[in-house]
């Protein structure tokens, strides 16, 4: 069956009339200025799916720029019904391609996400230089305590130093720390990058004996020793990157808001356990009664002991959750604290005078 068709050579816009025949495995066409051409049917590609009222356009592997345009619906129907690959539309090749890219993208996101969240932060935290830790730690402390006053008295400062000295007894590799009280009513303590440990007036008021403060301090020193604040900062940065990348927003406001800072110092359960273990170990070596930490834990867990986030003076600190955050597992953590072995007499962390001085450090 010979029909009329039009050929474009892909080099000129001129339309060239041809007569076209289908010999079963080839399309054969020729015209006044088109030499006889054989296009194998296997090598043909449809430009669009065949559609009534629209010309059917074909190209061929041999000449991808050329087009053969057929307007004879009967011819097109017969050609396409015998050769399914000319139907066009969705191709498995494309769908497989998309599926592969999707799978690859998701896998890359998971691997990168795992690396940024779980593996990298702790490693990077130990590579950060000292002056960076101090500068960034200072910034974080400043935005967390807002305008609260730092508490100092001569005797109170001496008592703080005495407490650190007792804890460092028998524990030579205690990291360098700074230990400050701030005049804030809420009950909390936290460690910021650079070994900056912050206690509130509220926590001081809640404590009935120096061992309780010493226990919490040992726990915070644990965070410092494990570089948890730094690791958390790296983790938040990584998370920020992941979020900007996934959401498609560039830049992003990096941890510049209070909510982000609060999340920054909310540690994982593993981190809290590490800090607890460090605290128990330190108190054991320094011969400090660990039951102070235990009673303080229990006090804070009592219903109604929570900080009230709607407090007028509340700051970002409220949102951190307190030292013994209420997430599940806290009771197990308390159970792990055991008294010193029988026969060992705990040292006095502070003399009664020193304790009095510390209690009144914020006036």
């Amino acid at each position: 069956m010979q029909i009329a068709a039009v050929f474009f050579d892909g080099e000129f816009a001129r339309d060239r009339a041809v007569t076209l025949d289908d010999d079963g495995s080839n399309l054969v066409f020729a015209g006044p200025d088109v030499p006889q051409t054989h296009w194998s049917i296997a090598g043909l590609h449809p430009i669009d799916p065949p559609s009534p009222g629209q010309p059917f356009r074909l190209t061929h592997d041999l000449k991808p720029g050329a087009r053969l345009v057929i307007r004879d619906d009967a011819f097109v129907h017969s050609l396409v019904s015998r050769n399914k690959h000319l139907k066009g539309g969705y191709s498995w090749k494309h769908l497989r391609q998309v599926a592969a890219w999707t799978a690859g993208g998701i896998a890359a996101a998971i691997i990168l996400g795992y690396a940024t969240m779980a593996i990298l932060p702790q490693k990077v935290a130990f590579m950060l230089p000292e002056n960076w830790r101090n500068r960034v730690g200072g910034q974080i402390v400043k935005s967390l305590v807002a305008n609260a006053k730092q508490c100092h008295t001569v005797d109170g400062d001496a008592a703080k130093l005495a407490m650190i000295t007792v804890l460092a007894e028998g524990n030579s590799d205690i990291p360098p720390i700074s230990f400050e009280f701030y005049d804030m009513p809420l009950v909390n303590a936290f460690a910021a990058p650079g070994g900056k440990i912050i206690f509130t007036r509220g926590i001081l008021e809640k404590a009935d004996r120096p061992e309780e403060i010493a226990g919490v301090l040992a726990h915070e020193i644990g965070h410092v020793a494990h570089r948890h604040p730094e690791a958390q900062l790296v983790r938040m940065t990584g998370l920020q990157v992941l979020i900007s990348v996934v959401s498609g927003s560039g830049g992003g406001d990096f941890t510049s808001n209070v909510a982000a800072l609060a999340a920054l110092l909310r540690y994982s359960r593993e981190a809290e356990r590490e800090a607890d273990a460090y605290a128990r170990n330190t108190m054991d070596m320094a011969n400090v009664d660990p039951m102070g930490l235990k009673t303080f834990f229990e006090k804070i867990m009592k219903p109604g002991a929570e900080n009230k986030p709607n407090d007028k003076n509340a700051s970002a600190l409220d949102r951190i959750g307190n030292v013994f955050s209420t997430h599940p597992g806290t009771e197990d953590r308390i159970k792990e604290i055991q008294p010193l072995p029988a026969g060992r007499t705990p040292v006095a962390v502070l003399t009664p005078e020193q304790w009095k001085a510390l209690k009144s450090i914020c006036g």
Binding site: R14, V98, G251
Partner: protein, 373 residues
């Protein structure tokens, strides 16, 4: 067969028509489902499928145009932009935050620089996207192209953004004319060129009309909101201190009305107002443009553009965005139905051009979500 020279058809008038074909609904649904399954990665293929469909409905003298781009090209374009632009920017931002601390003023400086970079690159993205689409548009086997510099256009575009914002919009007709001239004069179909020549002056009366109407609409909104607030105060004064639950209802009612007016004006009234200017600009720019010496004309009345825009907005809202292929179709059909080229073109003479063709597509335009098809 004789060795007679091949028949050469005489120069002809070019007629544009939109001949719909079946399958857009199926495309729309399948595209949406696959995009969901592939967490959005399919959209490059979806865009491509829709373009192929719409392009094939545009007939010039009975011969449909053809879209030869592929989803993979678009995807690769986006991937390259992501890896070599977006990712370094995000990482550098995070690095600055990490090194100098989260409260460092450097972060704000960086964000300003980042915004500036986007504005500088915006025109580049527009130009490259147009170039990609033209090089993937074939008619009678011949492709289009943009043969100028994307950098030049991008600087011009940045300058125009500055001029527009500093003149409260009044530089818009001049700057749009300059930009249109720049890009049209770079446009080719094979070895045949497009030309643009004309002044912005005739656009100004319509621009002024739209500018003042917008101002009045904004004043009306502010007045409505103010009177709603005043009304609620009056209600409170009337009932005095004796708190009545009805007061609150009336107060909330006023706020709801004020908010509804604001939405209506910003989403519908202002786009409708500016459609008057858009129509004028479309007609004017068509008249200023020539292909191979023949002038274009576009019969786009203000009412027709308003109808196009309003229905497009409604489709977008009521299909929750899934109906975007229909918006593209309507827009293309709008132009094709109203466009004519008033002159004879010697089509047979037009040859393929060897001007450079980009391997990948539209990465930046995709990242910025530049408008267009």
């Amino acid at each position: 067969m004789t060795d007679m020279p091949p028949p050469h058809s005489p120069p002809e008038r070019l007629n544009f028509s939109y001949v719909p074909r079946q399958g857009l609904l199926k495309l729309t649904i399948v595209n949406f489902l696959l995009s969901v399954i592939t967490v959005g990665i399919y959209r490059f293929w979806a865009k491509t499928n829709v373009r192929k469909h719409i392009w094939s409905c545009v007939h010039i003298n009975g011969e449909p145009i053809e879209y030869t781009g592929t989803g993979k090209e678009l995807f690769m374009g986006a991937l390259v932009v992501f890896l070599f632009l977006v990712l370094p920017i995000v990482l550098a931002g995070a690095g600055i935050g990490l090194v100098y601390g989260p409260q460092s003023p450097l972060i704000i400086t960086y964000q300003i620089l980042f915004l500036l970079l986007i504005y500088v690159l915006w025109g580049y993205a527009v130009y490259k996207a147009r170039k990609y689409q033209l090089t993937r548009t074939h008619w009678r086997g011949i492709r289009g192209n943009l043969v100028g510099s994307a950098m030049t256009y991008s600087l011009l575009y940045f300058g125009s953004l500055m001029a527009k914002s500093m003149s409260l919009g009044w530089a818009t007709p001049v700057m749009n004319t300059v930009l249109q001239e720049q890009i049209t004069n770079d446009m080719r179909f094979g070895d045949a060129a497009f030309k643009f020549k004309g002044r912005a002056g005739p656009l100004y009366p319509t621009y002024a009309l739209c500018w003042f109407l917008t101002l009045m609409a904004l004043i009306a909104v502010i007045a409505a909101i103010a009177s709603a607030a005043a009304g609620s105060t009056a209600v409170r004064d009337f009932f005095g201190e004796t708190a009545n639950p009805n007061d609150i209802g009336i107060y909330a009612g006023y706020i709801a009305i004020a908010f509804a007016i604001f939405l209506l004006v910003s989403l519908l009234v202002i786009p409708m107002l500016w459609s008057i200017y858009v129509a004028k600009e479309l007609r004017t720019f068509a008249n200023y443009s020539r292909f191979d010496g023949a002038p274009f004309s576009l019969d786009a009345s203000a009412a027709s553009v308003i109808w196009l825009v309003v229905v497009n907005i409604l489709i977008l809202i009521f299909t929750l965005g899934i109906g975007w292929p229909y918006i593209n179709q309507r827009t293309v059909k709008f132009v094709v139905d109203r466009l004519s080229l008033d002159g004879l073109i010697d089509v047979d003479r037009i040859a393929q051009s060897q001007a450079s063709v980009d391997k990948r597509g539209e990465g930046l335009a995709d990242a910025f979500d530049v408008g267009g098809l």
